[in-house]
Amino acid sequence: MDVTTYGWLILLFPLAGSILIALGYRALPGKAAAVIGTSAIGLSFLAAVGALLKLQDMPEESRQVTGVLYDYASTVGVDAEMSILVDPLSILMACIVAGVSTLIHLYSLSYMWSDKGYTRFFSYLNFFVFSMLLLVLAGNFMLLIVGWAFVGAASYLLISFWYRRTTATTAGIKAFVINVVGDIGLVLGTYFIFKHTGTLDFLKTFAEAEETFGPQSGNNGDLTAGLILLLVGAFAKSAQVPFHTWLPDAMEGPTPVSALIHAATMVTAGVYLIARMHPLFDIAPSAADVAAIVGAITLLVAGTIGLAATDLKRVIAYSTMSQIGYMIMGVGAGAYVASLFHLMTHAFFKALLFMAAGSLIAAMAGQQNLDRMGGFRKAMPFTFGCFVIGGLALAGVPPFSGFFSKDEILLIVGDRGGWYLGLYVVGYIGAFLTAVYTWRMIFRAFFGAPCPEAKELEGGHVHHAEVHTNPANGEVEDTDVGFPGAEHHIAEHSLPMRVAMGTLAVLAIVGGFIQIPKLNHWLDDFLHPVFADTKVEQLSKNDGLLFFGLALGTVLALAGIALAYKLWVTSPALPGRIRERFAPLHKLFANKWYFDELIDLVVVRPVAWLGRFGRQTFERVVVGATLVGGTTALVKASSAAVRALQSGYLRAYAALLFAGVAAVVLYFLLQA
C-alpha cells in the first residue's frame, strides 16, 4: 500500500465510526457504541503505525508525500484540493492522537457506562478524533482550516456534553467563541500568505517561501503579519495568554474529554501548527519571538494560578496550559523536535493524570474540590500510583519522560543565548512551580486524614451522594444527563480503565527514553526530513549547558516536591499562614490574574454595550423609526394622495379624463 493510502485510512476509520455510531444511535445495544468507537480509533492507530513503518522504508529526502484524493476547486490562482500531507511530523502527531485516543476510548468504555448519553458520547469522541487527524494530516491550508474548525466544534459538543448543566453549556459557548476568534485569525493569516504565494498547498508554499517572503522580497512584513494572525489561531486553540480562559472552564466536560481534548490532543494543535509552518517562521523571526514570549508568559501565569486553584481538574488544566506554554515557547525559539518530544510525553502523562483524576472524582461522587479530599492513598492504590507516576513525569523527575523532554526544550532555548536566556530562567521557575502545585494536588488528595468518601471506599463501597449537585455551583442536577449518572466507575474496580491507565503509566515512564541526551536521538532522526532546513540546531552541542540544565531540572523538581511535602503533609498550618502573609498575591492567583474580568471589561462589555445600543437605539431610531416607519409613512402619504383622487365622483373622473386628453393634445400641438 502507498503511504498516502495509509493516511486516508487513518482518517477513514474515525469518520466511519462516528457516522456508524450516530446513525445507529437507537439500534446499538449496550456497549456496542464504545466497542465500535474504540476499535475504529484503534484501527486508525494501526494505520498510523503502518504509515510510519512505510515512511521509514522510503529514502530520507522523499519522506514528504502529498496525497490528493480529488480537486476541490482548481481555478486560476486557487488550488483547493482534498489533499493530505504524509510526512514524519504528521504521522508522529497522528500516532500520538490516535494512540492516546484509543486508550481514552477504552477508559471511557467503562467510565461513562452509566451515562445516558453513552452512545452520543462515543459518536462525538470519534468525530473529534477524525477532526483532529484531519487537522494533523491536512496537506493544504484549506483542509487545515476545516480540521481546525471541526476540532473547535467537536470541543464545543464535548464540553457541553452534559447539556442540562448551565455551567457546562456556558463553558462550551465560551470555548467555542474563543476558538472562533482563533479561527478567524487562522483564516486571515492564511490569506496573508496565500495572497503572495498563490497556492494553498503546504509543500509548494514552503518551497517558494524563501523566494516570496525573504528579506529582499519586500513581503516579509506581510508574512510577519500573517504569521501573527496564525499565532492568534494557535493561541486560541492551545489556550495561551490571553486566549486561555476557556480551558479551565472546559473542565465542565466529562473527564475523558478533558484527558483527550484538553490535555493530549486538541490543545497541542497550536504547537503542531507552528512546527508545521516552521519554514515560514524561520523567515519571519519576529513572529516566532512573539510565540516564544507568549509561551513563556503563559507557563508562568498558569503555574501561579495552579498554586491557588482548589478544583482538582482545574489544577491539572492549569498545568496543561503551563506545559503547552513550554511547547509554544520551544517552537517559537526553534526547538521543534524538542517541543514535539514534549508534546508526546505530555500527552502520555497528562492523559494519565486526567484519567486518574477521573477515577478520584468518581470515588468522590462527582466532587472535584481538593479541600474536601484527603487520604485516598490506601483506598485507591492504583489511582494513587498513576498519580505519582504522572506527577513525577510532570514535575520532571528523572528518569520519567517529562524530565527529558522539558529539559531539552529549555536547553535549546538557553543555547540560543541573548534574551532567550530570560525565557530559560522563566522556564526553570515554571518547572519549580509545576513540581509544587502538582504535588500539592497529590498530597492533598492522597495524604492526610482520610475523608468520609475515602473511608467508605476502604470499606469496599464507592460513595454515592444522595443528591447530586453540580460541583461548580452547587445546583442540584439532573442525573439523567450529567455526571456521575447512576453508577460511578473507579479504576480499582474496572479492568478497561486499569488497562488504559496502566499503558499510559508505562509510556509516561519510558516515553522519554527515545531521546536521551548523549545516548540516542531517535526522534530527531525520525523528524529530520521535516526539520532539515531549519536554521536552529535541533540537538544542542553545548555540553556544559546540557549537564547544568539536567542537574538544575532535577534539583528544582525534587525541591518542589519536597516543599510541597513540607507545606501540605508535615506542617499543614503553614500554607494558611503563607496565604495570609501574601494575601494580595494569593488573591491575584486565586482569581486567575483577573483575566476573565479583563476580557469582560475590554471585549465583552463594549460589545454588549454596542449590542444594546444597536438594539435599543439604532434599531429603534434608525431602523424602526426612520427606515421602516419612513417607508410606511411614505406609502401612506402617497396612497392618501392617490386615494384623494378616487373621490367616487363620476364627473370628477370625467373631468380628469378630459383634462388629460386636453393636456396630451396640447403637448402634441406644442411639439408640432
Binding site: L645, Y649, L650, A655
Partner: protein, 99 residues
C-alpha cells in the same frame, strides 16, 4: 362648402357634449351628452370620408352608431335597474368606489 366648416361644427358639438358630461348630474342626460360626442365624431368621420372620396369613413361611422346603440342599451338598462331599486338618479350619489 369647405370641409373645414364641417370639422369646426364637429369640434364645437364635441366640446358641448364634453361640457355637458361635466356639468349634468342626471345619468340620463350624461348619456345624451355622450351621444352628442359620438355624433360629433361621426360628423368628423363623414367629413373626412368626403374629403378623401373614400367610403370607409362611412363604415366607421356606422360602427360607431352600433357601439353607441349598445352603450345606450346598457346605460338605460342600468338606469332602469337603479330606479327599480329606489336609488337616487344622480351620479354624485353613486360613489361607492371612492378610495
Amino acid at each position: 362648402m369647405s370641409i373645414g366648416w364641417y370639422l369646426a361644427v364637429s369640434a364645437l358639438i364635441f366640446s358641448i357634449g364634453a361640457g355637458g358630461v361635466l356639468v349634468r348630474r342626471n345619468p340620463l342626460v350624461i348619456l345624451l351628452c355622450l351621444e352628442l360626442m359620438l355624433n360629433a365624431a361621426n360628423l368628423a368621420l363623414i367629413a373626412f370620408a368626403r374629403m378623401h372620396g373614400n367610403e370607409e369613413g362611412h363604415i366607421f361611422a356606422i360602427t360607431v352608431m352600433v357601439v353607441a346603440a349598445c352603450e345606450v342599451c346598457i346605460g338605460l338598462g342600468l338606469i332602469v335597474a337603479m330606479y327599480r331599486r329606489r336609488l337616487p338618479i344622480d351620479v354624485d350619489e353613486m360613489r361607492e368606489l371612492q378610495g
